[in-house]
Point group: C2
Chain length 342, copies 2
């Protein structure tokens, strides 16, 4: 009896100490990045956070300036074989044709309606843009949100047969949480549609809509038949949030240079450059998809297969090495890739 009681008492004391002192809890040996292997990439992240949040460190960053930006496709979740949003747009074509039957006879909608996968794979970037604009505009903001929300819960990735929202990288989710726990404001800065990503970013990444910067189309303010005002999504490009558009979008929407930025392809190059060029401690990291078994393998950096979706060429790799960015090897640096792994 006595020994049980004393163990209970010890447990209580420990619990009380932990509750009373949040600092002690943080200092305890709880690994904030358990899905990362013990490789240099993990150490770089841990050191960056430690140095920038320690008031005694010369690399200290005041809480208000702790901004971290993350590309989404290929950086936070799977973007192969095609971007989830492109699947959404293609899936919306039948409903579009129902509303505007005249489009059924017009390319590229005719090809999409044919269901011919080979012909669809040959659609040009311009064709895909036409499909995106037609399926993402012309409705109220609320109607779009409802449609996109319904789709994101129902759609399944063809390989894993799971919702796209389960295909986020667990190690990156840990980085998001770790940064936030240390006072960093985390943003998504995506080439994808700002309104699209905002539909699920809070639930999936803990990132609220107002912290999603993305390719943005305009809206138009007007009044319904009931006299109530509403916003209609318009086919007017306000921000192409790719390449140079990323730092430009960051300035427009955030107004501060990030202290940490994460990407995976040429579209992120300028964001990583811009981040790294700031004063003091700056962290720029690139995810390299070199794990064909657990996810996908593409580059063409490091002799990996070439791709059109999220290209990571050798020049980008060389620039990263030269400018002190850190390349994350999915194969070597990540112990687990998905939460559903194992």
């Amino acid at each position: 009896m006595k020994s049980i009681r004393s163990r209970t008492s010890l447990a209580r004391t420990v619990a009380l100490v932990l509750l009373a002192s949040p600092g002690a809890r943080t200092l305890a040996q709880v690994d904030p990045l358990p899905s990362w292997n013990e490789t240099p990439a993990k150490q770089v992240i841990l050191s960056f956070v430690k140095e920038t949040t320690d008031a005694a460190s010369p690399k200290f960053v005041p809480a208000a300036e702790r901004i971290a930006t993350f590309d989404q496709d290929g950086t936070l979740w799977v973007s192969h074989p095609v971007y989830a949003q492109l699947v959404y747009c293609l899936d919306r074509v039948p409903a579009l044709i129902k509303a505007r039957p005249e489009l059924a006879r017009v390319e590229p909608f005719k090809t999409v309606m044919s269901g011919n996968r080979e012909a669809m794979a040959r659609l040009s970037m311009k064709d895909l843009e036409k499909i995106a604009v037609a399926t993402l505009t012309g409705m109220s903001v609320e109607m779009f949100q409802a449609e996109a929300k319904k789709w994101i819960t129902e759609a399944r990735d063809p390989r894993w047969k799971r919702p796209f929202t389960e295909l986020t990288y667990l190690p990156m989710q840990e980085v998001l949480r770790y940064l936030r726990a240390n006072g960093y404001k985390t943003y998504i800065v995506t080439g994808g549609g700002q309104d699209f990503v905002r539909v699920y970013s809070e639930e999936v990444y803990g990132i609220p809509p107002e912290q999603v910067v993305g390719t943005a189309l305009g809206t138009k303010y007007g009044y319904g038949k009931d006299g109530k005002p509403f916003l209609t999504k318009e086919p007017k490009l306000l921000l192409n949030d790719n390449d140079a558009g990323k730092p430009e979008g960051i300035h427009l929407m955030i107004g501060r240079r990030p202290h940490a930025a994460f990407g995976n392809s040429t579209g992120d190059q300028q964001m990583l450059e811009y981040t790294k060029a700031g004063d003091g401690a700056r962290l720029s990291m690139l995810v390299l998809h070199d794990d064909g078994k657990r996810e996908y393998a593409y580059g063409p950096a490091k002799g990996l297969p070439d791709t059109k979706v999220g290209t990571f060429p050798q020049e980008l790799y060389d620039q990263a090495m030269k400018q002190g960015w850190v390349v994350i090897s999915m194969k070597d640096d990540w112990k687990r890739i998905f939460a559903f792994d194992q």
Copy 2:
């Protein structure tokens, strides 16, 4: 001795209770809006916050959706006789002419350089836009920030002989703080320049740059002679954050409909409509400048003198009454206007 000891002990107990229970501290009779008179406007704000933050209330708003937007000029600080940013642009003209001497012979710069106040007062909106574009673009983002920061600390309002940043309305500062203390994220949504307001918003209002939505010009990403990337401010209008541009800008930059919005003129009409048209508890308020003694008196609503700067016409007043917005009378509802009053 005994009585002193027991008083000390009581004080300690009270202190401990207050420390241990932040709720108790809030519930204590500390008035969060001490610069407001005990009129209905104050009660409306107190009730709105109470109802939307009480989980048991049918009007409860989850913390993530607590967004409040504030116009700046005329709502948070003085905008008469002219907007502070216009003074900035005019003050920048000599430096502009030094850099580009050919402009000295061209209107409207010639008139500004003449120093003829009457001629300057006759400049058209188009002339003022030319001056704004010429003085706000063509330099790096960092150079602009440094210049604007220097100006804002040195410039003085002609009437009060104080920095413009001291001319903020104390009652509105209290509303900002009160909303934030209750989980609201406060935004500035201004017709003024986004980059300009961001220079001082954190220090003056406790609102960080990323929570300032304003009229925004584009930037262009490029590289300096040292190879370092930087952003140049461009004469390309991305967002005219006035009238319908306010709800459009709110959607672009925040992505959520506000639950509370504050304005003072026609430029805020659509923001207040859009806010009030949302489901559940929504608060739309307009500041009426009816205190010519302590500040300025203009409308022309309620028979006040007409103005070109921050017009509040009778139709706006009528719409406010019809749609359940609340008009704040500076004269009747505000006990103090400025922190330096008394």
